[in-house]
Structure formats: structure tokens, C-alpha cells
């Protein structure tokens, strides 16, 4: 019984974390509205819940990658490839965004000479990441809506 409660609370935590990640992702991707400084600081904040999101799905990552060369259901295989690409893209966008930081890093006393190449890569890849994120969201939409109904709408 205690184990079931723990599982439920973990699902609940995952749901709220995912909603926070979604909200932060949207805020990060509206730099026209937040301005460059806001965009950079929110982006740095975003890294923490994003990492927690990955850690909480560690068991799924292990279970799927331990069957890398074995037969997997089509949807699981697609998720595996898509999430891997998403992780690589996210790493690329975070890295390129960090090295072109004009406000947050200088405020922390770190001054990097900005390379226009990384700025261009950051802009292009961030747009591509948003497209990929839309598809990632669809693939997990059922889980989000089911748990949102259960934990938010029913509880209210």
C-alpha cells in the first residue's frame, strides 16, 4: 500500500514537473517578449527541471536502451530515436546558447567572445528543437491528459 502511494506521488510529481518544463520551454522560446536578459536567465533555470525530467525517466531509458538491437513496438522504437535526437538537439541548443550569452554570463563575471557562427546555430537549432518538441508532446499527450484529469481536475 505504501509502495502504491509512493508510485502515485511520483506520477503526480512527474506531471507537475512536466507542466513546469512545458511552461519554461514556452517562456524560453518567446525571447521577443522576455527580452534577451530574461531569455538567458530563464534558459539557465530551465536546465534544472529538464535534468530532473531526464532523471525521473531513467528507468524507461534503461529499459529501452537495454533492448537496443532487439525487437521493440513501433511507437517505443520511434520514441527511443526521437528522444535521443531531442536530447542531442537540446544539448546543442543549450551549449550554443551558453557560448553566445550576452547578459547572464557577463553578469556572473564570465566574458566569452561571441562567435556569430554559434549565434546562427543557436537560432536555427532552437527553431528545429521547437518543431521536434511539438511531436514529443503529441507522443506523450495521452499520459499528460490522463494524469491531468486524475490529479488536477478530479482533485479540484
Amino acid at each position: 500500500m505504501q509502495n502504491t502511494n509512493q508510485k502515485f506521488s511520483l506520477t503526480q510529481f512527474k506531471l507537475f514537473l512536466d507542466l513546469a518544463v512545458l511552461a519554461l520551454f514556452i517562456i524560453v522560446n518567446i525571447p521577443q517578449l522576455t527580452g534577451l536578459t530574461g531569455h538567458e536567465w530563464v534558459s539557465f533555470v530551465f536546465v534544472a527541471p529538464f535534468l530532473v525530467h531526464l532523471i525521473l525517466n531513467w528507468k524507461w531509458v534503461i529499459s529501452v536502451f537495454s533492448r537496443l538491437f532487439k525487437k521493440l513496438p513501433g511507437e517505443t522504437r520511434f520514441n527511443q530515436i526521437w528522444d535521443t535526437l531531442l536530447f542531442i538537439m537540446m544539448t546543442l541548443v543549450i551549449f550554443s546558447g551558453t557560448v553566445v550569452s550576452e547578459a547572464a554570463l557577463p553578469a556572473l563575471g564570465i566574458h566569452i567572445e561571441i562567435d556569430p557562427f554559434w549565434r546562427s546555430v543557436h537560432t536555427g537549432m532552437a527553431n528545429l528543437l521547437m518543431l521536434m518538441f511539438g511531436i514529443h508532446l503529441t507522443l506523450h499527450w495521452k499520459w499528460i491528459t490522463t494524469n491531468f484529469r486524475h490529479y488536477v481536475l478530479k482533485a479540484a
Binding site: 517578449l33 527580452g35 556569430p116 549565434r119 546555430v121 511531436i135 507522443l139
Partner: protein, 90 residues
């Protein structure tokens, strides 16, 4: 022990993989492709400036952001959702 196995170890693994990817990415800016991109980007003004200062600027930014979000997240979401519904129909 569980905390290390379930949380710290995965975090370290993800950070390590990210570090390897970043290490590989650093070589990107030495390619001939990067030279071309750098030349084009040097002549292009940055897209993002400071936050909107007036209400009109705010509304304009809000409109731009809404269109961007709709096209870049909403559209792939809607298309994939439709495809999934059609392919998973019993």
C-alpha cells in the same frame, strides 16, 4: 544507496553524454560550413533585443510569439496527433 543509483548516477550519465556531445560539437566551428555561416551571421543583426518597453511593443511581441509558437510547436503537434489518430484507429 538508492538515491545514488536512481538519481545521482543517471544525472552523471546524462551530464557525461552531454559533455561528449559538446566535445564533438566544438569541432563544428572549424568546418568550412562554419566559415560560410560565420560570414553570413556576421552581417545579420541579432533577432532578439531588449524586452518590450511600451504597451504597443508588448502587443506586437505577443503577436509574433503567438504565431511562432503556433507554427513551430502547435502545427507539428496537430499534424502528428492527426496521423496518430488515423493510424491507431481500430
Amino acid at each position: 544507496m538508492n538515491i545514488i543509483k536512481e538519481y545521482i548516477l543517471p544525472a552523471l550519465v546524462f551530464i557525461l553524454i552531454a559533455a561528449i556531445i559538446i566535445f564533438g560539437l566544438q569541432f563544428m566551428d572549424q568546418t568550412t560550413w562554419a566559415v560560410g555561416v560565420r560570414e553570413t551571421a556576421a552581417n545579420t543583426p541579432p533577432e532578439i533585443g531588449s524586452a518590450p518597453a511600451t504597451f504597443v511593443e508588448f502587443l506586437t511581441s505577443l503577436a509574433i510569439s503567438t504565431v511562432r509558437m503556433t507554427l513551430l510547436i502547435g502545427l507539428p503537434f496537430a499534424i502528428t496527433s492527426t496521423i496518430l489518430k488515423r493510424t491507431q484507429r481500430p
